[in-house]
Symmetry: C2
Subunit: 284 residues, 2 copies
């Protein structure tokens, strides 16, 4: 039941292809999943695949922006938790998975030119440049699994929606050309489980860690919980408190603000499936 | 008694100047201490000063090496825990202390030219260049204080010595031009307190965190605990186990191996005294 709950139902309902292959895909190891993706068999979202394994956000930038971006992540570790950075020009991962090819092993890529969306692609082999630096960042899928395991409800999963995301009035720590407001995700948590939710997610600093705000959306510049900036609105029950976590969209917005010549990211939801277990990323 | 124990006695015995000013210095805030240092009143080690506040290792490198070095730290977080990186050319800290001047506010600096020690100086104002990038890294003083508070003995402090340091056979994760073996510190811990020592130090990931090895020096390439590569040998009692933590000398050795045109570090023991409390660096 719980594992099922990890799969937003709209994927299953709306997409016959997804439905047909999903059962096969969930039974595969991360390496097998990456192989299916590389072969072109799977170009759909990775949510719910390889339960227990960490999935990661992708940001690829030319070398001239790499130091500033790494510094931006170092200064904003909650929204931008760096898991792995590849050497200039390298497209093979090492720490997060031995020898995965970052150009082919994600289901879909978004290409941004001068800070504007230009194209989505199934691979980026033709676009690859010797001066590209690849960043893999933690993703909240990992701590959502931990919340569910601790019997804390995750509303957007229950309702088969994308997590609601909001641009706050919290300014990130600037680094070189990179700056921007912090983006947060919101999950309504039953009052009596709020402290447990803090404890559970604080164990995962490399996938956004503990919340950044609890209870008063206005104080972080959020006027209407019913109108998220990205994702879908979810219902909040009477005994529940809105809890806000730093979100991996933050670095993407900082990158767009900086208008680099080119930037390649994963397409939202189409993550890098790593060989690292979520528990390997946890503190004691 | 415990606070006293933080001051290696050889400083007090051997150095009248130190003895005379030490009582004044320990009563000062980090900001006041940095002022005394900036004014030239204090050029001695900072050990035992501003109890409760984090002290930091300093590495300054020209911009062309900065990305590789930051990446080296990201890939080797236990020996190289980054607390703050300043913007290119900036000499004023922000996160670790508001507006401290990195060129004057440490008691002594070491200058390395092409990877070789060249000089020690009381300030580096004349050497400063617009393309210098400053890194502040966590230091084990923080977790030693935590060990003492948990009633776990710290032998080199008891014996008024410098901590014994050993070059291991553990290869750091390479990043660009930076590579090298991991250097560790050793503290003998009573058998029944080993687990407590792991727990206490694991709370401080940004000051080296939990141990990297326990019990068998040979397995990490250490042949003789009586002959440390740096620092002093300490006595190990019969009921004690040698416990090894990653050491901040590791990045210094990686920098020397890379032979940069110029590199400036703190003189060992002459640290940057920050405004951050050790507890602010702790996980829950």
């Amino acid at each position: 039941m719980k594992r099922r709950a990890l799969i937003p139902s709209f994927y299953i309902i709306d997409n016959r292809y997804f439905h047909r292959y999903y059962k096969i895909m969930t039974g595969l190891t991360p390496k097998e999943i990456r192989y299916m993706i590389r072969e072109g068999t799977w170009d759909k979202p990775t949510v719910g695949l390889a339960p227990g394994y960490a999935q990661m956000n992708l940001v690829i930038l030319p070398e001239k922006y790499a130091f500033d971006f790494l510094l931006f992540c170092q200064r904003n570790p909650k929204p931008c938790p760096v898991i792995e950075v590849l050497e200039k020009g390298s497209f093979l991962t090492d720490f997060s998975a031995k020898g995965a090819d970052i150009r082919t092993d994600l289901p879909m890529y978004n290409i941004f030119i001068n800070g504007k969306f230009a194209d989505s692609k199934k691979d980026i082999v033709d676009l690859w440049s010797h001066d590209f630096v690849t960043f893999l960042l933690g993703c909240s899928f990992s701590f959502e699994e931990a919340l569910l395991r601790a019997n804390i409800p995750v509303r957007h999963i229950e309702e088969g929606k994308n997590v609601p995301m909001f641009i706050t009035n919290l300014e990130c720590n600037k680094a070189g050309i990179f700056s921007g407001k912090m983006v947060v995700t919101m999950r309504p948590i039953p009052k009596e489980k709020v402290f447990k939710a803090i404890q559970v997610t604080s164990r995962y600093p490399s996938v956004h860690g503990g919340p950044i705000h609890i209870g008063n959306p206005l104080s972080i510049g959020i006027k209407d919980l019913g109108s998220p900036d990205f994702g879908d609105a979810v219902s909040i029950k009477e005994n529940e408190v809105p809890v806000f976590w730093a979100c991996g969209v933050t670095p993407q917005i900082a990158v767009m603000n900086a208008r680099p010549d080119i930037c390649i990211t994963h397409k939202p939801g189409h993550m890098f499936v790593s060989d690292i277990l979520n528990e390997e990323l946890a503190t004691f």
